[in-house]
């Protein structure tokens, strides 16, 4: 029989011989691996899910004529060039044209935009009445709550706006509360605003919602800047920074939790292995007396710990997937999918914890066979 087979034969018997203590160590490792696997799964999915959710919290990139430049308006063809990029990270594109108008004697800012896109990036806006669902609705408008109070408008009210020599008649579909500048504006379709201002094919700016990590957003911004000469592309730094901070903190929390769990698992293994080392002193003394070298004997015990580590890692990974699904449902409202790239990481971490926890077994290398064999 090849010596390698004997190695595995002894290893198998070692695993069976101390079933109770090894089961305790395996439970410690599996528990640790399960939490690590769950957190790593959550970490990978949370980044995706959080960046998706961030995209409902407003624009994070603005495309506008350069500040201080001659032109205060951009050509609407910029929208076609943005679409032509087919950048999957661009979750929504909302052009705006701001027009100074009057409703009766009251001045008001009319903002023309694409409501279908505005809805995607401003999910927190509160609406009293009805939202405008398409960008082609030229008969309705949303009125900011401050403007509605000043103009005495309620959902269903008719509003006539005048700018220069043009007039547009709209019906207030809803009163919107945004907490921002839109509260003082009347929002309608881009086409209506362009008609009223006589600025067909012109826009003031484009708000973009770009998904991804701060680095990915920066990359898309750079790509946009290169593709759109004559306009300025700038990220909304506060939002990007806040998103980056939140992601960083979540990842930091997960990293330190994993580190703590691994330390606790290692301590659990350490306790079991310390007891096991006492039981194994006689066997090691005998193996040395039979001519076993310290590295050869230690290989057996490290392989035993390694087997526990791999087994704990694999079991823990699957338990962790179930745990991640549960966390996903509770925290994000959706089930997290199993990420198999987490499996080798979980196994490697658990293996490291098992081998570190097997430190007491390494002390067996110091056993003096003469003392053991005479019963000391």
């Amino acid at each position: 029989m090849p010596t390698r087979s004997m190695f595995f034969r002894i290893l198998w018997k070692l695993l069976g011989a101390s079933g109770g203590r090894l089961t305790v160590a395996l439970i410690a490792l599996t528990s640790g691996a399960a939490v690590c696997s769950a957190l790593l799964n959550v970490n990978l999915d949370a980044e995706r899910k959080l960046t998706q959710e961030f995209r409902t919290l407003g624009a994070n990139v603005i495309v506008a004529p350069p500040a201080g430049g001659d032109a205060s308006l951009a050509d609407a063809s910029v929208l076609d060039r943005i679409a032509a990029l087919h950048a999957p990270q661009i979750a929504a594109t909302a052009p705006y044209l701001y027009v100074a108008a009057n409703s009766g004697s009251q001045p008001v800012i009319l903002a023309g935009t694409w409501f279908d896109q505005v809805a995607k990036m401003n999910s927190w806006w509160k609406i009293q009445g009805d939202w405008i669902s398409t960008r082609d609705d030229h008969e309705h408008c949303l009125v900011g709550q401050t403007a509605a109070r000043q103009l005495g408008l309620v959902p269903g009210s008719a509003v006539q706006l005048r700018s220069g020599g043009h007039t547009v008649s709209l019906t207030a579909s809803g009163i919107v509360t945004t907490g921002g500048a839109e509260d003082s504006q009347v929002l309608t379709s881009l086409d209506s605003a362009q008609s009223l201002a006589g600025l067909s094919g012109r826009i003031s700016l484009v708000q973009l919602s770009v998904s991804g990590t701060p680095a990915q957003i920066e990359s898309v911004t750079r790509q946009l800047g290169e593709s759109l000469p004559g306009v300025e592309v700038r990220p909304v730094r506060q939002i990007a920074a806040a998103e980056g901070t939140i992601l960083g903190r979540i990842q930091g929390l997960i990293f330190w939790t994993i580190a703590l769990i691994l330390v606790l698992s290692t301590l659990g293994v350490l306790a079991s292995m310390a007891a096991l080392a006492m039981e194994r002193r006689r066997d090691v003394g005998l193996m040395k007396a039979l001519g076993g070298s310290v590295p050869r004997i230690m290989r057996l015990f490290l392989a035993e710990a390694g087997t526990l580590g791999v087994l704990g890692g694999v079991l823990g990974f699957f338990v962790g997937v179930v745990l991640a699904r549960w966390i996903g449902e509770r925290v994000f409202g959706v089930a997290m999918s199993a990420r198999f790239e987490v499996l080798p990481i979980t196994i490697a971490l658990t293996l490291a914890a098992a081998v570190a926890g097997a430190f007491p077994l390494r002390l067996l290398g110091r056993v003096r066979p003469a003392e053991i064999l005479r019963g000391e």
Binding site: P2, M6, I10, R282, L290
Partner: protein, 225 residues
Amino acid sequence: MTPLVQVDHLEKRFGEVRALDRVTFEVDAGEWIAIMGPSGSGKTTLINILGGLDHPSAGRVVVDGLEIGSLGERELSRYRAEKIGFVFQQFHLVPYLTALENVMLAQYFHSITDEKEAEESLRRVGLADRMDHVPAQLSGGEQQRVAIARALINNPKLILADEPTGNLDEVNEAAVLNLLRDLNEVGHTILVVTHSQAIGSLADRRIELEHGRLARISTASLAKD
């Protein structure tokens, strides 16, 4: 002919205690030597040094041309694996390995394992039907016979037996002694530590220790046959 074992002014101290004090003797290949003496006389210490389990404090011990005191840990492991076969009073079998695996364990640490050879070794000591039993399923005599099979498996130059029948009843003692005598007759060199005058009388020579000193070396009074 160069002696297989040369012990020259061997000393072993444990702190202030001299366990062995300037012990000198030689053993030729093929001899059966009984090491005798009262408890605490240094018998086990002597056999541990000869087996490379302990280091001498002074003096020289040469076995098959190797000076034991000059060997490092790695060389001592090789020495034990290749030149020595141990038989202990407490048997010292690995409790979770079968009789066959206990014998193969010695092969494993020596070089490569050969299951057929290990089976043959167990057959030789009359345990053909006990190969797959773990020590707890074997009687004391059977366990000692497994230990003898293990000691023989690598064809050692020297078999060191420390009170090999100390834990056995008369029937099993006779069986084990017959085995040792058979081994000696086919040329194995055997050093047996014993309190028993009967066992001592079976040896070619008796080395008697008292308080760590060599008291006398005598030839056995009874013929082995």
